[in-house]
């Protein structure tokens, strides 16, 4: 387990580094922040002062070296806009994103498992065709369109929920519904496919031959075998929510990491952008480890070597083992 974690951390270091380098370089392609932060009539001297003060006149590799030096000391720089620590801003925005992503994924998985399994019971039956239509539609609708339509219908026309913001439970409804549909639609199709193939496996017949009820067959025997592909895709979709709820967060004014990223790009607030990207990259890396652990929990065949059997070899009384062959002979 520890070996597994250590290996994962080492192998993730390089991708993380590449991500930071890429964001660092790309952000600087957007131009000099000076023109955004100084008044329109600022003199050349003021611009030069601003640039020098923020170290933006150094060659890019010097800036990079400075930045990495800071990262090693856990200093991620300050916001150009507010002067606040960039790390603190990213960390403050992150819980809002996690809450939104977590609730959305939980709902999507639960609903998709129910609908997908129900559809798989009778392939090409009525339920299957209805769920196939719904999931296809749900997976194809673009979220920005859905968000705007949602605001128009439910917030403006009907007035049931606020257009944006985070006040109270009703503010959660539109962002979650908007984010939910695509993962739900994709997962229904994955769960349905995995359940159809799992339900046609011989071990399902074995379970039935033991007198297992249909409910038991589906929930105990088929679902756990169908869980691995669903977990893979759910993991992918969750990654998308953790870093990519950018559009939805912006539309609904959700103070999460996606909105923070967009704002910091628009304002060329490099340190904040880098801190936000680094934080999402690390959380995606953690998410992937959790998914791997999830596989191992579901299926013993993919457990890391050395931990294959949890057979309590040490606690077996030697006497019991010694008695066993005799006992067998007594019967056969």
């Amino acid at each position: 387990m520890l070996t597994f974690l250590r290996r994962r951390i080492v192998s993730s270091a390089l991708p993380l580094l590449v991500v930071i380098l890429g964001v660092f370089a790309l952000a600087r392609l957007t131009g000099n922040p000076a023109s955004l932060y100084l008044p329109l009539n600022a003199t050349e001297q003021m611009r030069a002062d601003f640039t020098e003060k923020n170290g933006l006149d150094d060659p890019i590799w010097v800036q990079m070296a400075d930045y990495f030096g800071g990262v090693l000391r856990l200093d991620f720089g300050e916001s150009l806009r507010t002067g606040e620590s960039a790390a603190a801003m990213a960390l403050r925005a992150f819980p809002a994103t996690l809450q939104l992503a977590g609730t959305t994924m939980l709902l999507a998985v639960v609903l998709a498992v129910i609908v997908g399994s129900w559809a798989a019971l009778k392939p090409n039956g009525l339920a299957d065709r209805i769920s196939s239509f719904i999931s296809m539609a749900a997976a194809s609708v673009p979220d920005f369109w859905l968000a705007i339509m949602g605001i128009w219908v439910f917030a403006i026309t009907l007035g049931w929920v606020p257009t944006s913001g985070v006040g109270g439970l009703s503010a959660w409804v539109l962002p979650i519904l908007t984010l939910l549909l695509r993962p739900f639609g994709v997962l229904v199709q994955i769960v349905r496919g995995a359940m159809v193939s799992s339900l046609s496996e011989p071990y399902i017949k074995l379970a039935r031959s033991k007198g297992a009820s249909e409910y038991r067959v589906v929930t105990r025997h088929a679902l756990r075998n169908a869980a691995a592909p669903a977990l893979t895709v759910a993991g992918d979709l969750a990654v998308g929510l953790v870093n990519g709820a950018v559009v939805v967060e912006s539309i609904f004014g959700w103070p999460g990491i996606g909105k923070l990223m967009i704002d910091s790009i628009l304002q060329r607030d490099f340190a904040v952008l880098q801190a936000a990207v680094l934080l999402t990259a690390i959380s995606i890396f953690i998410l992937n480890i959790l998914i791997d652990l999830g596989y191992a929990g579901l299926d013993a065949r993919v457990r890391p070597a050395g931990k294959r059997s949890k057979a309590p070899k040490a606690v077996v009384p030697a006497a019991a083992v010694a008695v066993e062959p005799k006992e067998r002979n007594a019967h056969v």
Binding site: K205, S209, G211, S213, R224, A300, E324, K326, E327
Partner: protein, 352 residues
């Protein structure tokens, strides 16, 4: 200590009223199974009848695709969704299984009827320990706790000859050898001491030495609890060694039944005769092996009249027009479906 474990292990298996040797346990009469396909409905099993008796082994013998497995699945109520029983009765210990609702039928799966599947690796659920899967029958039918079911599972594993069941109970199917997995499947099938055990090609996936061990285990379990065994196989040698009676199937129909000794000693149906002649015995090096010319008809091309007509050396016009019924033959414990049933001294086939 030993006697105590032995006794508790005994109760695990022999908890019900003992069956009387040779009592009829299963009567299948006129069983029809249809398969729905895009091309139309196909008759996979046609008018199949046989009996299985307590403490005896009946072999359903036939080539791949002859409907023997389909028959077994129909009896066990485990047909695929595209296949349906469309006729006949399956009476197990006085109850017509075909007349039960699916829910009522669940009560019979396990305590009355056990089935051993062919490929133990795919038949066992890969994500649960064998202990969990062995204990499941007790959890479902006897409402045992997880802990009590685990104890039963350990007893069963010991009973079918798995070494160190106390530790192996928490292993997963992929951690066992093929022979051990087959033992686990057998343990599952006999867990609740059923009156009828269906063994669907239980040794096809195993090598010969392991096959012999598995067949001995099945024999011992049968002797111990007097259950009736229906052995599905294509292996003539296995039938000769293990079975008391045999029903030979061809293209979904039973063509001959009777005690194995008599049927193999003097086959009355040309198909049975052809099968036996195909066994390579006393053949010199380089000599051609006997075989039945042609191949069985596909299910959508089964002809009017006798199912074996296209390959039968004795075929006449009557065979193409009228399908022979399974009629008693000889002293009454044999049946054969042939217009020209062979007699012991018939030489018609000797030079074919």
């Amino acid at each position: 200590m030993t006697t105590q474990t032995a006794r508790s292990s005994q109760t695990a298996l022999a908890s019900r009223d003992q069956l009387t040797e040779n009592e009829v346990v299963l009567t299948v009469t006129g069983l029809d199974v249809d398969i729905r396909t895009p091309k139309g409905v196909l008759r996979a099993v046609n008018n199949v009848s046989f009996e299985a008796r307590a403490g005896r082994t009946l072999a359903l013998l036939g080539e791949s695709g002859c409907g023997k497995s389909m028959t077994a699945k129909a009896v066990a109520g485990l047909l695929d969704p595209v296949a349906d029983v469309t006729g006949g009765t399956v009476v197990l210990n006085g109850t017509d299984l075909a007349a039960l609702t699916p829910k009522q039928r669940l009560k019979y799966a396990g305590p009355e009827l056990g089935i051993v599947f062919q490929d133990a690796l795919t038949a066992l659920n890969p994500v649960y320990t064998v202990g969990t899967q062995l204990g499941e029958a007790f959890r479902i039918h006897q409402g045992l706790s997880k802990k009590a079911a685990r104890v039963k599972a350990i007893e069963l594993m010991g009973h079918v000859g798995i070494p160190q069941p106390e530790t192996r109970v928490d292993s997963f199917p992929h951690q066992f050898s093929g022979g051990m997995r087959q033992r686990i499947l057998i343990a599952m099938a006999v867990a609740l001491n059923p009156r009828l055990l269906i063994a669907d090609e239980p040794t096809t996936a195993l090598d010969v030495t392991v096959q012999a061990q598995i067949m001995k285990l099945l024999r011992d379990l049968r002797t111990e609890s007097h259950m009736a065994v229906v052995l599905i196989t294509h292996d003539l040698a296995l039938v000769a060694e293990e079975a008391d009676t045999v029903a030979v199937m061809y293209a979904g129909n039973v063509v001959e039944t009777g005690p194995v000794r008599e049927v193999f000693g003097s086959p009355k149906h040309p198909y049975t005769r052809g099968l036996l002649d195909s066994v390579p015995a006393d053949v010199g090096r380089g000599a051609d092996l006997n075989s039945i010319a042609g191949s069985p008809p596909e299910l959508h091309r089964i002809p009017e009249g006798c199912v074996y007509q296209s390959r039968c050396p004795l075929v006449q016009d009557v065979c193409r027009a009228i399908r022979p019924a399974l009629e008693p033959e000889g002293d009454g414990n044999r049946t054969v479906a042939c217009h020209f049933a062979l007699t012991t001294d018939s030489k018609e086939l000797d030079n074919v």
